[in-house]
Symmetry: C2
Subunit: 251 residues, 2 copies
């Protein structure tokens, strides 16, 4: 240790320049892909076909290839899992990196976790690795493989917090959406009810959050007055923030 107390990466990789002389790390990505279907928060899960955790559900993910960044690997894995071709509107956000030495029993795996938001989710085609992929309600999954319960909880918390001070909610919506649909994103992720008039004013008062689609309207639930359509605006931050109503947990 003393001989190589590392200044990253000044002192050189462990063992000097012999890349193969040390216990190797594998670098993976894990994806907490969230969507909203029928006013319920859902998450994309895959069933593992092999040990360890065979038969358990897990977050999709995979190993980073030698020439890829973690972001690139995440987009590739997601495209493979969902069969989605147009990932241009996909919001991909790096959550954090999980690096406990024992998190994978086979070898040392450091995993970069991402939260991803999808509108209009396609049905995933069951993976070719004897594992099926499926959207499942956020609450039900029960114990996931590895530390994926924790990653999923972190993703939910991060997304919930980001709704407060960014325009992230539009990433859950189709290209054109009503303010009711946008409000339902907040209500679903936060699991609270919001005052409709106040929400409307708040969103419209934030420059660049949404911009109206001229003349267009749509019936949301088959009933009621047709609602005006909006597109995501250019803004990315919300000032002032749209705070979650204080609940029992948060005073």
């Amino acid at each position: 240790m003393l001989a190589r107390r590392g200044r990253s990466p000044g002192a050189g990789p462990p063992g000097g320049y012999d890349k193969y002389a040390f216990e190797p790390f594998a670098v993976a990505v894990d994806l907490a892909v969230l969507t909203i279907r029928a006013d319920a928060l859902e998450v994309l899960l895959v069933e593992r076909g092999q040990e360890p955790y065979a038969g358990h559900w897990a977050l999709p993910g995979g190993f980073v290839l030698p020439a890829e960044s973690a972001e690139t690997a995440a987009r590739r894995e997601l495209a493979e899992e969902t069969g989605l071709s147009d990932l241009s509107r996909l919001h991909l956000e790096q959550l954090r990196t999980y690096s406990d030495p024992g998190r994978d029993p086979r070898m040392r795996v450091v995993s970069v976790a991402f939260a991803a938001l999808l509108p209009d989710p396609p049905e995933p085609h069951g993976g070719g690795d004897a594992a099926q992929a499926r959207w499942q309600p956020y609450r039900t999954p029960g114990p996931l493989a590895f530390d994926h319960d924790r990653i999923l909880a972190d993703a939910h918390e991060r997304v919930g917090a980001k709704l407060e001070y960014t325009c992230l909610a539009t990433s859950f919506c189709p290209p054109e959406f009503t303010l009711g649909e946008l409000r339902r994103v907040y209500e679903t992720v936060w699991d609270t009810a919001l005052d409709r008039p106040n929400f409307r004013r708040k969103v419209l008062a934030t420059p660049g959050f949404v911009e109206p689609v001229p003349g267009a309207a749509r019936l949301t639930g088959g009933r009621g007055k047709p609602a005006a359509l909006y597109r995501a605006g250019g803004a990315t931050a919300l000032h002032p923030p749209l705070l979650r109503p204080p609940s029992e947990g948060r005073p």
Copy 2:
């Protein structure tokens, strides 16, 4: 690729279970250690003694050892760099992971970056690897090695944002501090002036942010009325948040 489209880590590491059969990754940590000295934001930098970037300044850091988590590696590296023995009050926050394939010319290095806050920083003893370590004003560093300019900027932004809605500011302060010292933390990181009376009320109105030290008082600048002393309270979150005054950049 198709043979091993990885479900993390369902499909197994690249190359199946032969850990040594693929181009290895190295996993490093980089630390943006911030402190406040004489009302100025400073960052801990090391001068590189070897190629690449020999003679350039860089963030301290090093490689994760086989049995360590990234957090453990970060604390170890920081203790080695600064010679600080008591890291119990140290706030260490994972920033994000930088994984561009070309970020280190020698081999594939994936780096987990941390932001760390230190009160009363010790003088670092220059490293044994022909590299010196030094506190430097945040603004001056000029181009750092690798992508460390970006990491440092991300750390500053993250810390600035966290001051708004957490009690993080007390991590910059000694165990007992005055409200003036706490306010100067905000003013230094945000580079703005805050209204003293309003800041005081805001802090005292947040339950658990600070708690008074009975009877104690201290002169801050050699002049003026002695200020009451406070300790960090048990709370971790700020509701409602203490928002940065809107500036030109943020409307």
